[in-house]
Symmetry: C2
Subunit: 333 residues, 2 copies
Amino acid sequence: MNIAVDAMGGDNAPKVVVQGAIKASDELGINIILVGDCESISVELEGKEKRGLISLYHCREAVLMDESPLKAIRNKKDSSIRVAFDLLKNGKADAVVSAGNSGAIMAAALITLGKVEGVERPALACVIPGIAGEVMLIDVGGNVDCRPAHLLQFGIMANAFATSCLGMQEPRVGILNIGEEAGKGNEQVRIAYELLKNSPLNFVGNVEGGEIFSGLAQIVVCDGFIGNVVLKLSEGLAASVSSRLKKGMSSSMTGKTLTLLCHKFFKGFQKTLDYAEYGGAPILGIKGVGIVCHGNSSAVAIKNAIKMAVDYVENDVERRLSEQIAGFHAPKF
Amino acid sequence: MNIAVDAMGGDNAPKVVVQGAIKASDELGINIILVGDCESISVELEGKEKRGLISLYHCREAVLMDESPLKAIRNKKDSSIRVAFDLLKNGKADAVVSAGNSGAIMAAALITLGKVEGVERPALACVIPGIAGEVMLIDVGGNVDCRPAHLLQFGIMANAFATSCLGMQEPRVGILNIGEEAGKGNEQVRIAYELLKNSPLNFVGNVEGGEIFSGLAQIVVCDGFIGNVVLKLSEGLAASVSSRLKKGMSSSMTGKTLTLLCHKFFKGFQKTLDYAEYGGAPILGIKGVGIVCHGNSSAVAIKNAIKMAVDYVENDVERRLSEQIAGFHAPKF
């Protein structure tokens, strides 16, 4: 299997990306194509053991984190994101992993690969370590102004991924809303509620903000506007909690001794909250496999994202997703 | 000053409400009218010192937390929420404080008092202890399907409150969005961005989910759907963090000794995150003063909410809000 990894994407590229790629090829025994500026990638590979499984694919450009996604992908034809997806399209790679500008990754996937038949809007699904196991939040990819039918499709696509790659059987699907009872929420959500209820998904109803990570639902459906806010708010709170804890600990108590004692605990604690550590978010509904990583990803997160790409390919998620989307149009639903 | 307090509202009513009312009358020297079932309120007052400032106003009904707000307020004319607002309307009280069904409180305020002239939709503003001082999030009161002009008005109303009661001068006003740059977001938010930018408010632009509590903006404007999700998510995360911390501390380290050492720190930490401790949320845009408390409010929170009601009355927020709303319709803006 060949995974094209965007070596220029992310806050600490190419260093951390290269480290993650080495880890992945070591642990998974797969071929990695590092796409980007050969010279700077080579610097990072230097001194490392000879890695037969890692190859380089040179390109001259990179999309910046704050660039306008669509414009960047259209204009920068030799950017690492665009080139990685071209490799996929031309059969030279089986999947793309990138920690770059997520809008640009979504745009490149759409432009080069296109949508699975029947899918109206591809979506980005984030897998989060919830209190009682993994929780998928979909969409976090900026699909704003969604129609209710889009939300239904998000649920179907996430269901296909969760059953294929996360080992979930009939995952509990909920819709993000402002109350527990049916009939709550805005028009979009009220209609989507009915669509989901009448689908063969294991729909458990409304999920309130406080219950997103509780495990009440394993798949939480929302539009990309609110999904983005939820994700960033959670990350922001996690970071703020960690910093307040450290500050509070070292100032209010017996100082350094206690901080040292607590260090191990904090590390574990932060990790469970730190989505950057957790790996990637699959783009669901495109013809092909694209995994988006947090810009701030660690080498472990990059490795985990590559692992997710491998799982996606091996479990044939695209075919299953395609079948489930097609099935939902049948009159029986 | 006379504050009508809904003695039957909240998870621990009337006990905690009565305790909060006693605290408030003690500390603030104001008259409190406890509205609700006289018998059960009397039980809670029994054995307490004679409180000349607290009086009872009997009513037979109470709105349950899960009742349909509008229906409950229309049908239960002798419910504590409804009766408290009737007291306000008839000049027997200057403000209402309730920890009951927030939808029902909003409905009762609207039905009995009506809207300030020019206000399209009254909104609920939550005051949150942010990292760099207080932050107002508006709307958290369930105004779903808002138009951009509603969001503008939310900003104006919050501005009137913040400058009157929170000691803020030209508070920084932001709009909750999914990117920093102008032009981001859904249609509603993109238009509201322009309206806010062209208003005399001190508009600082988009605020992303991770920045809500950072202090970037002191007033964060959003529709009631997303405001509700943000608030409940934050509360849920705070609770989950506290419980994980306690669990992690006592299991992974030197056990009880450390937990005891940390106890004081945790208590302080939890308090800064616990919005239930923090007091009330003002309903902005109604003709009169209504403060909504968290259902789970402690006696201190009830007292703080009563204090907020007093501030609201004393600082004449309604008049200022009314003037600012009227001013924004003037051609100069």
